[in-house]
Symmetry: C2
Subunit: 481 residues, 2 copies
């Protein structure tokens, strides 16, 4: 009998090709262990609230009032909500056409897009056009929309950093394109080397690919590096010379843990460069409420801004966005709040500023605790997390550990991470889920566990790791081979 249309063998091959390790084998095993009653520390996804980070109070007050607008007429509302939250809720409701229960325009509410444009102008010093800002259910959905518009067939290549966040590899597979890797230099603090980029693009062209776009993740995920202005300039010249769209994933722009390289947007660098390049390079920049000190992942609020795209293409992207009608409206309002937080003098300013600062400073301390912890372990080396919310240590696995992994039918880093999970409950993602150079192994963990738990987690990691290394570095073992 012939297979049915939704049997595995008859599914779209591109769907089957997708790999997505962040919720892959390790995550599934961790979920199983959790069901069995084991305490799991989920560091596989950058999901701050799941690890105890409290939401910022002011935005949650505003959104609660927007969801329950009848409270605005209640004489007791002032007992539970400050006046500026009440005023702000009225403001956002006035931007909707029918409150949070009505679809917005498929690009998002015009009033919110205007607030985002104003934020971008303040950030970069160049005006931004709300008509070129589209809101999405989280930044990932926007990335997928753009890749879908770019990829025509398997001959279209997209330059992606390796290690990379697997959204990119997964979406490129799903839409039937080809991933063209460029390697970040671990020894140079995960820096981006333009010569390496040129080699990658040449190699891809030799294989007959048309390279169409380049992805950067700044600050880096999983690698945590912050790009310098000089580096971004080089990149933009490269995109100009090679006729590439730059897809700038800047979702971690608030998460900076050092002073040497503050966040600078690709858009600002582009405009600073002046003509002709500032009018020529096509750029799409992504941002979100899921990261930063907000961490409002579950709300799914994101946007992308398009620079130097012709109006006709912008219209096509609008049309495709229209198929699913509207991004979720509460998530849009979170974006408005993120780009327009309480100001000095506002009733809620002090609380908002105190909460934000506490989260950011704690993340910075955790970045240090984690890097130092990894570097104190046998056969583990780790660059400092300059930005974003991940640590990506290299694990130098002894040959016997690699052998043991082979016997168990696992990739060596998967083998290590599974053992770590079973021994400690720490749920990480193997480096192979992000890509790594041949013969080199990593894991990714977020820096998000609560600060007070960090020392114990790192001790537990160290104990596991050092015992693991002891076991597999046993030279008597070799002599038996």
């Amino acid at each position: 009998m012939s297979p049915k249309p939704l049997d595995y063998e008859s599914l779209n091959e591109n769907v089957k090709k997708v790999q997505y390790a962040v919720r892959g084998e390790l995550y599934l095993r961790a979920s199983e262990l959790q069901k069995e009653g084991k305490k799991i520390i989920f560091t596989n996804v950058g999901n701050p609230h799941a690890l105890g980070q409290k939401p910022l109070t002011f935005p949650r007050q505003v959104i609660a009032l927007c969801q329950a607008p009848f409270l605005l007429d209640d004489p007791n509302v002032g007992l539970l909500f400050p006046a500026d939250a009440i005023a702000r809720a009225k403001h956002y409701l006035s931007l909707t056409s029918g409150g949070l229960g009505a679809y917005s325009d498929s690009r998002g509410l015009p009033g919110i897009r205007k607030e985002i444009a104003e934020f971008i102008e303040r950030r970069d010093g160049y005006p931004s056009d709300p008509e070129l800002i589209y809101l999405t259910d989280g930044a990932s959905k926007g990335v997928m929309q753009m890749l879908n518009a770019l990829i025509r067939n398997e001959k279209d290549g997209i330059l992606v950093p390796v290690p990379q966040y697997p959204l990119y590899s997964a979406a490129i597979s799903l839409y039937g394109g080809s991933l063209v890797p460029y390697y970040l230099e671990e020894e140079a603090n995960w820096g981006l080397d333009i010569n390496q980029l040129r080699q990658s693009i040449s190699a891809a062209r030799m294989k007959g690919l048309t390279v169409r776009a380049m992805v950067i993740i700044n600050p880096g995920n999983p690698t945590g590096q912050c790009l310098s202005e000089a580096n971004i300039k080089e990149l933009l010249i490269f995109c100009y010379q090679e006729n590439l769209v730059l897809l700038a994933d800047e979702v971690y722009q608030q998460n900076i843990y050092q002073n040497e390289r503050p966040f600078i947007s690709s858009r600002k660098v582009l405009f600073d460069m002046g003509l002709p390049i500032s009018k020529e390079v096509q750029l799409v920049s992504f941002h979100t409420v899921s990261k930063g000190y907000w961490g409002e992942c579950g709300q799914r609020g994101g946007y992308f801004e398009m620079t130097n795209l012709p109006a006709k293409s912008v219209d096509e992207i609008y049309k495709v966005a229209s198929i699913s009608l509207s991004p979720n409206v509460p998530g849009q309002i979170f974006l408005g709040l993120m780009v327009n937080p309480p100001k000095p003098g506002d009733i809620s300013y002090l609380k908002y500023a105190t909460e934000s600062k506490a989260i950011l400073e704690s993340l910075k301390r955790r970045a240090h605790i984690m890097t130092d912890g990894f570097n104190s372990c046998r056969n583990v080396v780790c660059n400092f997390t300059e930005g974003a919310m991940y640590s990506f240590p290299q694990i130098r696995l002894p040959p016997r550990a690699i052998e043991a992994a082979k016997s168990a039918g696992k990739a060596p880093d998967v083998f290590y991470c599974l053992k770590l999970l079973e021994a400690t409950g720490i749920s990480t993602v193997p480096g192979s889920g992000f890509g790594q150079k041949e013969g080199v192994f990593h894991l990714r963990t977020t820096i998000l566990p609560a600060e007070e738990d960090m020392p114990a987690i790192m001790d537990s990691f160290k104990k596991f790791n050092d015992e693991f290394m002891e076991q597999y570095e046993d030279y008597r073992g070799y002599s038996r081979m």
Copy 2:
């Protein structure tokens, strides 16, 4: 110079092929007129809150508390919220891992999926497995996921009713498949004729297509008919014989305005039929919080349930859902509330029941006002809206109107709808956006304008239409040809 990657000429052709009339030329023109200060009645999208429908109070209270969990510790919370809303908010927060700001599992929160499974069991009389229920950012996203999994190339055909909701045609274009139309019979109250289906599938196979799935929309959009149990049985036998997946769009299951054909789910009919068919036909059913008496479109909460899919395929669909991490969590909680509303005896029951009933009864009255209104117009005939929230009258355009449209470079129905918009501010969607038989013209309007505005809107429509007909039925006009 060669075009840039995001120039129109270098975009993915499938993106360019997409058509989406619900937010097409008419909507854009209406938005322009609105900007110019004209009062527009947007009946182009089923967006109840945008036309003044008030949200149900209880779910909004619960979601406001979930967004602001710190209120639960406030001694004054009882002044603004009833005890059952407080209890329910605590319940839903206990189902999350970190509140509304944390990503859930990519399939949705397990606790909500369990509540949905219990609802389905109560509705159908057969148990449902939460592991086969996936939550999405509105039902449209789920439909797109399934079509993406099904469509391998342009030789894969999907049977779609004509007229249809253009989500289907648009998504099929986007994923590069082929739409295989089957016509609903306007004269038979938009009924579905199995012989017609057989002809459609034969014709598609003659063209070399592999027909993989069949879409039904029950209650119908834009056509408003409710399928009988006997009709669904025939369909399921057809799917069984022809090896088709049935995609059952049942988002309007609460919107029923007659008693002869209450809503019955495809899943219940399938299970009632017994073996072998109940274990053989692959079925995916869709539901949402956007429709019914909820109308919570802006929250983007939807789910799909998979029946008779092998575990390996369910896993593939999970993997692809994981790329964008998690559907929005507030939307998931709305789904929980929809399938588990206040019960008799609960503090909020009476209010909830009164509000829901008022909305549904008003919709029923509006369905009558609108159908009767259209049928009182010259050259307009309209089936009664048995369910859903649309009216789809046939407009019998005189030959001279068709000529005039041609001269204006417009499709005849687009011409008519544009004139209607300019004259009255009523923003409809031309029938060609949904598909219609050659030489026959329609428009779609929602039945959602406020009930008190309805008589004036229908008067305004009648005045425009009858004058339009008068103008173009002028036989002196013909004599000049």
